[in-house]
């Protein structure tokens, strides 16, 4: 190592060190949580109130499309449970459908939530909720929903024809009171297809997707939204059911500081090299 100082590591070694720190910093809070208080944003409480103010006996549609993390960590359980509470208390009916870009995983997400996530006591499949599973075609499915809910698919996820399902009898898109979706990609398709309907739209999206959709939120096309991982953790606090998502919020603190430290470090190094 003549002439070369010990810290002149190869580019790969530097990157490996950066990644090692990411892994370590993520591990620390899992072993010893920080437990910092989480302030509730106004948008999250508005999301919660909008769901609770759904009138008696109306039908809503939920388009599942969140990223694969929610399949593993179940970060969406809180508002799925709220759906089933509304079914019991306000006799609200929910249509679950997925056209997510991650493929049939969307259908698997809904199925996993319905099997293990929610409390289904005295709710009947076909009367209170229906699961249409995953349908290919992404924006074409959103357009079919906006055009006519009956034409979206012939059978639900379990093979029973849609015409035989009790809650779908004579249901048209106008009868839908509210449309909600969770997305892992940009929100323009939902806005284009569901915006003109003039119905309230609920959105759950990754943090940077929400930042990108602020134009629609400010224009009122989106009624209420959850701001990614943090939004879901806040919603869990408002709803009172905690999952992994709340635990994750701890590690996010260290990762954010680490990100800022890296920004400053890389600029200092760049300044020195350029200087």
């Amino acid at each position: 190592m003549s002439g070369k100082k010990w810290y002149h590591l190869s580019m790969d070694a530097q990157d490996s060190l950066v990644y090692l720190f990411v892994i370590l910093l993520c591990g620390v809070p899992v072993i010893r949580p920080l437990g910092l208080p989480l302030a509730i944003n106004e948008s999250t409480t508005h999301f919660y109130e909008t769901l609770n103010n759904i009138p008696e006996g109306s039908t809503i549609l939920w388009n599942e499309g969140y990223m694969v993390q929610s399949y593993v960590s179940g970060s969406e359980i809180a508002f799925y449970r709220l759906f089933f509470d509304l079914m019991r208390e306000n006799d609200v009916k929910v249509i679950f459908v997925s056209s997510c870009v991650d493929g049939p995983l969307g259908g698997a997400m809904i199925q996993k939530m319905l099997d293990a996530g929610v409390d289904k006591t005295d709710t009947v499949y076909g009367r209170d909720y229906v699961n249409l599973g995953w349908l290919p075609g992404f924006e074409a499915v959103l357009a079919a929903i906006a055009q006519d809910i009956q034409s979206v698919t012939e059978e639900d996820a379990y093979g029973t024809p849609v015409s035989d399902i009790e809650m779908m009898q004579g249901l048209t898109t106008d009868d839908l009171y509210l449309l909600g979706f969770s997305c892992g990609v940009s929100v323009d398709p939902w806005m284009r297809q569901w915006g003109p309907l003039g119905k309230p739209i609920l959105m759950v999206g990754g943090e940077s997707l929400i930042a990108q959709a602020m134009g629609y939120i400010n224009a009122g096309t989106v009624e209420a939204y959850l701001n990614g991982g943090r939004g879901m953790a806040e919603f869990e606090k408002v709803y009172g059911f905690y999952t992994l998502q709340t635990a994750i919020m701890d590690s996010v603190n260290l990762m954010s500081l680490y990100g800022i430290a890296l920004i400053i470090l890389s600029n200092v190094l760049f300044g020195k090299k350029k200087g």
Partner: protein, 202 residues
């Protein structure tokens, strides 16, 4: 027969469904037929996916038969495809097991989302000019707004962070959304006039 061979016939097959769906959207006439056509978009996309899969199989089969570079990995690809595809129809518990314990970690981890972001921040967060400094300043303030620790350090971070999100961000996202909307209409017009037919492979 030669008329069908012409490119124009394919353009007509592009333009007629397009105009019909727009006609239905603005007048509300012939709703069911337009819905059927919209569903056709999804079904035809399935067929094009099958073609894409076939052409990919042909490439990997070639790699195996001619023992090209990395041919064992193509074998792994075929084996995992057939095992997963067949158990999907024959033995669903195994399919579910593979989805839960093999496919999901791959889909979750191969993203290396955090790592790419941190490498980008480490490698690329170099400010070439004062606009870059502005961008990084806004990045840091947003991170401090979102992380609960930001609020613990100083109460002002969430307020400034929220302002940046609610004013400059809304203004720029509004302008870009308008630009994208106009761009979409321009492309639609060019395609209707048959000036743009890249979907035919020219």
């Amino acid at each position: 027969m030669s008329v069908l061979k012409q490119k124009e016939f394919a353009i007509i097959l592009f333009v007629v469904p397009l105009l019909f769906i727009l006609f239905n959207f603005y007048t509300g006439i012939a709703g069911p037929q337009a819905t059927e056509l919209i569903n056709w978009g999804a079904y035809l996309w399935n067929f094009s996916m099958i073609i894409g899969t076939y052409s990919m199989f042909r490439k990997h089969l070639l790699t195996i038969t001619e023992r090209q570079k990395d041919w064992p990995y193509s074998v792994i690809m075929f084996v995992s495809f057939f095992v997963y595809f067949i158990t999907g129809y024959i033995h669903t518990p195994t399919f579910q097991w593979i989805m839960d314990y093999v496919q999901t970690p791959i889909m979750m981890t191969i993203w290396v989302g955090a790592f790419t972001t941190f490498t980008m921040v480490f490698r690329g967060a170099r400010t070439r000019n004062w606009l870059g400094v502005l961008l990084l300043l806004s990045t840091v303030l947003t991170v401090l707004r979102m992380a609960p620790i930001g609020e613990a350090i100083w109460g002002g971070f969430p307020i400034i962070g929220l302002w940046i999100n609610d004013v400059p961000n809304v203004a720029v996202m509004r302008a870009i959304t308008i630009g994208m909307g106009i761009g979409l209409l321009a492309t639609m017009t060019r395609e209707i006039l048959g000036k743009e037919t890249h979907y035919l492979g020219e």
